[in-house]
């Protein structure tokens, strides 16, 4: 077998193992180990197994994931978010799927303080899912909404992916950030449309509230929103006031939520311990998958699969439209199996020079790429955002249930992609104001 054939065989084995319910982390690590052994040899396979787990976990930037998780768990267990959702409930009670819509709004706001979509999904998942379950929302709709809404976290700045793209492609990061705002808001709008359409067509998914809420009660409901608004205000203020970096924001946010819960008098020893426990279990089960995904990237790099697919695109890409169709195909396929960073590192060395020779703006391409990679976060079989939500909700939903809920949002995402390609101004308008 040639290297590239071993690469594709490996993907086949991976899909089979996952379908047979072998834990995802184990499947990824096992396939990568055997695949590298087959292509490069025994020494390199053992080498990857010895080096990658430690080097992946022992990083400063990754520390924001457990810390943002912890913040979400504190908010939930101390009841800080309940007031906000009660307010959202009475104010949005007229809307079909009001709580799910509120979740998308919440994610878009949270996106402005976090750079990663996993962190965004984690925090929102713990806050919003239980509230939606309390009002008897469909499990698949509730979990799918947070998994998808999390992807807004990497589109609206700050964004770790855009920073790395900016460094690799030598594009001003500030321009990418501004470009991401349009794509992020469009994505959020698309998700709200999906929720509205689905719950209008099938009201059982999100039982509408029949109670008529008087205005006085509506205003009274705003009173209990202070904990979250205070928390968000402090995190935003600290971030934009230069007190801490986005990586540090998770820990500070978790600490602040602890303090606010203390002020509110709603923190018990049990809820404190539960928040820590859920953070720990979710992080550990997520990291082992991410370590496996990182190993898979090396396996595919050895196999030349990234080069193969990229060159295929270039060969097919007779004109600019065909090139874009090809690129879309490659990222949708790679996104199914790889984590975003891996997919980006494997393909950019070949695709960037090609894009540069076309008339496309590299800022626009960077935002489009981020959007593609974020779609990969929610497509089966390896969808990190879906796994985060699975970790967060425990036995409430299977991964299949969450993936099923996500499917509807993928339809909206594809439309967003078409719009971003047809109307680059959606991305480029804000950056153009800067010049």
């Amino acid at each position: 077998m040639s290297d590239i054939e071993i690469g594709f065989t490996g993907i086949g084995v991976l899909v089979t193992l996952i379908a047979l319910r072998v834990p995802i982390g184990v499947s990824l690590i096992g396939v990568s180990f055997c695949g590298i052994w087959a292509i490069v040899g025994e020494k390199a396979a053992w080498g990857i197994l010895g080096i990658v787990p430690y080097s992946f976990a022992a990083t400063w930037q990754l520390s924001s994931v457990p810390m943002f998780l912890l913040m979400g768990f504190f908010c939930f267990h101390a009841g800080l978010t309940k007031g906000l959702f009660d307010a959202a409930r009475v104010w949005l009670s007229g809307l079909p799927g009001g709580l799910a819509v509120a979740t998308v709004f919440g994610a878009a706001g949270f996106a402005a303080v976090t750079g990663s979509s996993v962190a965004c999904a984690a925090a929102m998942g713990r806050i919003a899912v239980p509230e939606m379950m309390r009002y008897r929302y469909d499990v698949s709709l509730a979990t799918g909404t947070v998994a998808a809404a999390g992807t807004i976290g990497a589109l609206i700045p700050p964004s770790i992916l855009m920073i790395l793209y900016g460094i690799i492609a030598e594009v001003p990061i500030s321009q990418l950030f501004l470009g991401g705002v349009g794509a992020g808001l469009l994505t959020a709008f698309g998700y709200i449309m999906v929720i509205t359409l689905r719950t209008t067509l099938n009201p059982e998914l999100a039982p509408r509230l029949t109670e008529k809420v008087p205005l006085a009660a509506k205003i009274a409901a705003l009173r209990d929103t202070w904990p979250v608004i205070l928390l968000m205000g402090c995190v935003f203020g600290g971030l934009f006031g230069g007190l801490f970096t986005p990586t540090e924001a998770g820990a500070v946010g978790a600490f602040l939520s602890l303090v606010i819960a203390g002020l509110k008098g709603s923190l018990t020893m049990t809820s404190f311990k539960n928040a820590l426990l859920e953070t720990l279990l979710t992080s550990a089960s997520l990291f082992i998958i991410a370590i496996g995904a990182s190993m898979l990237t090396r396996f595919l790099a050895f196999s030349g699969a990234g080069d193969y697919l990229s060159e295929l695109v270039v060969a097919i890409g007779a004109n600019e439209l065909m090139l874009l169709v090809g690129i879309s195909g490659v990222y949708l396929i790679l996104g199914m199996f790889l984590e975003p960073l891996g997919a980006m590192l494997l393909t950019l060395p070949i695709l960037l020079p090609i894009i540069a020779t076309t008339g496309f703006s590299l800022v626009w391409f960077g935002v489009l790429l981020t959007k593609f990679l974020e779609i990969g976060m929610i497509t089966p079989p390896i969808g990190l955002n879906v796994f985060v939500i699975k970790g967060v909700v425990g036995n409430l939903a299977t991964t299949t249930t969450i993936f099923r809920g996500v499917m509807w949002f993928l339809v909206s995402d594809l439309i967003v992609i078409v719009l971003l390609i047809s109307f680059p101004e959606i991305v480029l308008y804000l950056p153009s104001l800067m010049d």
Binding site: I18, Y54, F244, A251, L286
Partner: protein, 190 residues
């Protein structure tokens, strides 16, 4: 058999407590560093080094086995949930063997890596502060090794049909319920 199960339970509980402490300490440590930096221009030395080389490594590897006893490891059931309950039960149990192999390989390799870093006396310098990091390399074989043992134990329980005392896969209970219902049905018919 249950004695081994109880021993494993104690050990995983211990790793859990260390993991919980790591999460809480990491939050306080980073917050104190941030406050120190802006309030008194005095950051906590080696914060980045400690967070990345210790807290993160503890969180990533020590609770793996505990997560297994709580069935927290993430799987995709899209195909298997169509199978009959008994078939799922057998399939899940055999997948312990695959997992045990992979974690066994990881244990062996990361143990060698830990020995090597200890021999080298690995440390990192953050500014002028020296932080020994080789001890943190041992967290990998400890976490993965405990996981391997738990998986092997679960497989043995499956083969021997003994009592586990370690928490079970949900399907095992469901399969047992189905069996019980069937047995009750058969009894009624006869």
């Amino acid at each position: 058999m249950t004695i081994i199960g109880r021993l494993l339970r104690r050990t995983t509980d211990l790793t859990l407590i260390i993991g919980l402490l790591a999460v809480a300490l990491m939050m306080f440590h980073i917050t104190i560093d941030v406050v120190g930096k802006f309030a008194i221009n005095q950051p906590v030395p080696a914060t980045i080094a400690l967070v990345s080389s210790y807290y993160m490594v503890v969180i990533a590897f020590l609770p793996i086995a505990y997560a297994e006893t709580r069935n927290s490891h993430i799987t995709v059931e899209v195909l298997t949930e169509l199978f009959p309950m008994r078939a799922q039960y057998h399939l899940y149990s055999w997948s312990y063997l695959i997992s045990a192999t992979v974690y066994g390989l990881l244990t062996y390799r990361t143990w060698n890596e830990a020995l090597r870093t200890q021999e080298a006396g690995s440390f990192i310098m953050e500014q002028s502060t020296k932080l020994l990091v080789w001890p943190s390399y041992y967290l990998l074989p400890i976490g993965c090794g405990l996981m391997t043992v738990v998986l092997v134990y679960r497989f043995i329980i499956y083969v021997t049909g003994g009592k586990s005392a370690l928490g079970e896969v949900p399907t095992l209970q469901k399969a047992a319920e189905v069996d019980a219902a069937k047995a009750a049905g058969l009894a009624k018919e006869s």
